[in-house]
């Protein structure tokens, strides 16, 4: 009972082979797919939400220690990554527009550019993680955070145990985010292949739309992560 559609031209009066057998109309299929992705993103909000909740609670309790720890991560790299992701969301939108207006070359170019931005993001993240590793800020046996001043409170030093909680949450939150990026890259690889094979038409490009939704979501999570993690109590 194979129901994976293959790439074909649509014929007048015949069903689009992309229409799966259990849907009555293409519109129903498109609506269902979109709705399904929105719901899935809702579950992702709840998934990250638990982390954000834990983070906000500890940040409230240990504000000074968290501010000191936040100062030690590279806000410039974080800001660059934010710009990279926003640009990648733009290229996703352009890819979808290109599909809607039958601009095959542009669509493929935008998909490739999106993936380049995604890889760039991961590369910059890799640099940040490396820096943290070298500075012994990775939680575990080699963790060290002595004599770090709390911003705005000269002479007061951060409690290393509380700082370690910051870094634990930093790595888990950005790591989970990066994992979602990697999955996103996988999805876009598949979308690129389908686009190359001419699978998408102005009439049917639902996988692009829902892949795009996922990518935008990963972007939005980062837009919350960045100020929360990188910009605690920053002074110019």
């Amino acid at each position: 009972m194979s129901d994976s559609p293959t790439a074909v031209q649509t014929h007048e009066g015949l069903h689009n082979p992309a229409l799966l057998h259990h849907f009555a109309t293409e519109e129903q299929q498109r609506d269902a797919s979109n709705f399904g992705m929105w719901i899935f993103l809702g579950t992702e909000v709840m998934f990250f939400g638990g982390l954000f909740c834990a983070y906000l609670i500890y940040r409230g309790w240990y504000f000074g220690d968290f501010a000191a720890a936040s100062k030690s991560i590279n806000a410039a790299l974080g800001a660059t990554n934010t710009a990279v992701l926003i640009c990648s969301s733009l290229t996703v939108v352009l890819a979808i527009w290109a599909a809607q207006t039958a601009r095959r070359a542009l669509m493929i170019a935008m998909l490739i550019l999106t993936m380049i931005f995604g890889l760039g993001f991961l590369g910059i993240k890799g640099i940040e993680y490396h820096d943290k590793f070298v500075e012994h800020h990775v939680p575990g046996p080699s963790f060290s955070f002595e004599h770090e001043e709390i911003p705005g409170h000269p002479g007061q030093y951060a409690n290393p145990r509380h700082a370690q909680i910051f870094f634990a949450l930093y790595f888990i939150m950005t790591g989970l985010h990066a994992l979602h990026m990697i999955v996103g890259l996988g999805i876009f690889t598949w979308l690129l292949i389908m686009a190359w094979r001419g699978y998408f038409t102005p009439h049917y490009h639902t996988p692009l739309e829902i892949g795009g939704l996922y990518w935008h979501f990963v972007d939005i999570i980062w837009i919350y992560l960045f100020p929360l993690l990188y910009l605690i109590d920053r002074h110019p």
Partner: protein, 333 residues
């Protein structure tokens, strides 16, 4: 009831009666509700049993009925809530001047120390009719101090104090259970609460102790050099601790907190968390350098400072010398 087949737990605290009263009320309400619903079901099931040729009559619904059986239960539930809340609130608000016992739970035993100094393991002796407040912490995982005869329990957490108070009303020996799963010997972490007549209790009390807990705390206070900064003449680098217990404290960041047991404990183990206004954050942490029992002794000592004593305020110089063998300062694991 039967000795080896009890159906109702003994009552031995001032709260037990209140809890039982609410419980019986709930049994009556539930019983009535059950009777109502079951009778209706049984009656309808029999009366409207399928008979050949007789069709069911479609009764759509009835908004007045729906509203009735929504609002009335809600009303009953709110009554139950309020009653339960009152019982709970009263049982969770320790009276002033309660006798204090410090409890340290660990896998898998209860270590108790009366403020007067008696130490007990898995057993707690208390006099009838006296308010007793337990100040509890755990050395490892979460435990729970549960005395069915008192109808009370409270989880005992690592890293902070939790409090339980009771007033025993019946002499006797009652079960003490650990009620929060804590590992292999969770079901072996049991003991007894021994409620005695006041005279018996006095006799038991005088049968040897290591001196009041606060005296042990005073010793540790001196040994660890706390007095260097926390001077009674307010000239030190740390706040004067005289009379500080139970009072509001203004912190460096503007917050106002009450100096309760948890505050004192935190100040010893994590001094940077709450810095008093006007002082610098220079106090070193004693995390890992003091055991839970030693922290308890220090808390008891700080509490005892500033208590009016005939002839003036009690200071460390005017404390009586500890009786018997030196106690509180030794490491007890």
């Amino acid at each position: 009831m039967f000795d080896n087949f009890p159906l109702w737990p003994q009552r031995a605290s001032s709260t037990a009666g209140n809890v039982d009263a609410l419980f019986i009320f709930l049994i009556i309400v539930s019983g009535l509700m059950t009777l109502l619903v079951f009778s209706a079901i049984i009656y309808f099931a029999a009366r409207y049993r399928h008979r050949k040729g007789v069709l069911a009559e479609q009764v759509e619904g009835s908004i007045p009925l729906e509203l009735t059986w929504t609002i009335i239960p809600l009303g009953v539930f709110m009554v139950i809530f309020a009653w339960g809340a009152v019982v709970y609130f009263k049982s969770r608000t320790p009276p002033r001047d309660a006798a204090e016992v410090y409890v340290v739970a660990k896998q898998w035993m209860w270590k108790l120390e009366h403020a007067e100094g008696q130490r007990e393991i898995n057993e707690l002796h208390v006099p009838v009719g006296r308010d007793v407040k337990l100040i509890m912490t755990s050395q490892d995982v979460i435990h729970s101090f549960f005395v069915p005869a008192f109808r009370m329990k409270q989880d005992v957490l690592p890293g902070r104090y939790t409090v339980l108070w009771f007033r025993a009303t019946n002499p006797g020996t009652y079960h003490l259970f650990c009620a929060q799963y804590c590992g292999t010997q969770h079901s072996g972490m049991i003991g007894n609460i021994v409620v005695m007549e006041p005279a018996q209790y006095e006799a038991w009390m005088s049968g040897g102790s290591n001196g009041p807990l606060s005296a042990g705390g005073e010793k540790i206070f001196a040994e660890l050099g706390c007095a260097t900064c926390h001077r009674m003449d307010s000239q030190g680098r740390g706040p004067n601790l005289q009379g500080v217990f139970g009072k509001p404290v203004q912190l460096e960041d503007g917050r106002m907190v009450t100096a309760d047991e948890n505050y004192i404990r935190e100040s010893i183990l994590d001094p940077g968390a709450k810095v008093v206004k006007g002082f610098k954050p220079v106090m070193p942490t004693f995390q890992g350098l003091v055991s839970e029992e030693q922290v308890n002794a220090l808390v008891a000592y700080v509490k005892s400072l500033g208590i009016p004593v005939p002839g003036g305020v009690k200071t460390s110089e005017s404390m009586p010398a500890p009786q018997g063998a030196p106690g509180g300062g030794s490491q007890v694991q």
